[in-house]
Amino acid sequence: MREDNLEETIKNVLQREVSDEVFHIEGLEGRIVTELAGQLPKSSPLEALKRLLAPTRGARLGQLAVIGATAAVFLVLGVFLAGRLPFLEGNPRVTVTPSGNEVLFIMPAIGAQSVTVVGSFNAWEATPLSDENGDGIWTKSISLPPGRYEYAFVIDGRWWGQDPLADEYVRSFGAYNSVRYVGLAGDGA
């Protein structure tokens, strides 16, 4: 329906209301909208998208700015979540479960340049520990689902598998690995 026919349609509806003596202000708008809805042509997806935008240029710019900012927030959130997903950070064995436990890894290594922890929870890829106050105590807290984990520290490239906080120790490839039971009966053994 063309725009110049709109006015005539509205006038016709109003005249009919008056002639039928059913004119009431309440509900009038709704009745006109219903009448018009039946006559409006189907709009294309592009036109529907255009109608989502604000009518004036200034408001449209504001609206696009809000949309842009929102997209940026989602992008940052997406990148953050992607980094947290285990399969994207080389951590294939660990599946995220609702009952994750924070496990604190502590290694005293005064004068060390780098300390990492490798184990069955990170596919034996290095996860760095930090020593922010420089006291030689390196720490890292890692959230792990319940399970048994073998691990070792790597201090300046040298493997160290005898963590005093471990629940037990096993030999592997002729060297020792530490073992932690997380959230299981052996936890703290």
Binding site: A82, W124, V170, G183
Partner: protein, 257 residues
């Protein structure tokens, strides 16, 4: 107010598009196949076919397989040794065995810079090192031992008999018993001392049992590495396996090395 609604709808649409993008970033079997092809293996198709069985059973995750293949690819060594390592894992899958221990062994060995042949075949010297071949053999003999004690895995969806466990629970038992026996041997344990072998097995199973006596339906709390064993499964094993059963089990493995 209408403008706010419009903005909200557009935000929602963009959020869905971005979420879809993240989902698409997940590793697929095709990615694993592509990485395998890059290794120029003779038996790449057989390996991939076995890996796909593992993916469908949940015994191997595409992310884990891709990580392993890429790490092998980045490691110096003979292509035939790399292929032998992947074939051993493939054969274990074809033989209906869980491979989480095997994958972990290779990952650890590569991280430690252990020669590929030692990762594969172990070392019979002092200290004893069990390689992938011995670990696979141990998984098979433990599985056979459980069968002989009438402890089975039930097919998905089948009505479980009293000693038929779901595949995950059965795999958890096989993996952890084999691991415990293997670690005992690598720790210079005497293979002829059935009592100590039994103690190593029972300690591992009890340490690894869950606090709950029954795993909830769906078993969603068990992670991919078969880390949790229901207490009732531990009791079942300790009730049926005796110390005298374990020496012949480990000797089969040691005689193979």
């Amino acid at each position: 107010m209408k403008y706010l609604m419009k903005v909200f709808l557009l935000m929602l649409a963009m959020g869905l598009i971005l979420s879809g993008g993240i989902t698409l970033a997940a590793v697929s079997a095709a990615d694993v196949n592509q990485a395998l092809q890059a290794l120029h293996l003779t038996n790449a198709e057989e390996i991939m076919a076995a890996f796909e069985i593992g993916f469908s059973q949940g015994r191997l995750q595409p992310e884990g397989a891709l990580h392993l293949v890429k790490r092998l690819s980045a490691t110096e060594g003979s292509p035939s040794d790399k292929e032998a390592i992947l074939l051993t894992i493939a054969h274990a899958l074809e033989d209906d065995l869980s491979v989480s221990t095997l994958v972990n062994t290779v990952e650890e060995g590569l991280a430690r810079g252990v020669p590929l042949l030692v990762i594969l075949n172990g070392s019979g010297g002092q200290p004893l090192i069990l390689g992938l071949v011995q670990r696979e053999c141990l998984l098979g003999t433990v599985r056979d031992l459980l069968y002989s004690k009438r402890i089975f895995s039930a097919p998905e969806g089948a009505q479980a008999a009293s000693t038929s466990l779901s595949l995950r629970r059965f795999d958890a038992l096989v993996t952890n018993i084999a691991d415990a026996l293997g670690d005992y041997l690598e720790g210079d344990g005497n293979p002829y001392d059935g009592f100590l072998l039994y103690q190593a097995m029972s300690t591992r199973l009890r340490n690894q049992s869950s606090a709950e006596s029954v795993i909830p339906a769906g078993e969603s709390i068990i992670p991919a590495g078969e880390s949790i064993i229901p207490a009732e499964d531990v009791d079942l094993v300790l009730d049926r396996i005796e110390p005298g059963d374990l020496t012949p089990t480990v000797l089969k493995v040691l005689n193979q090395s």
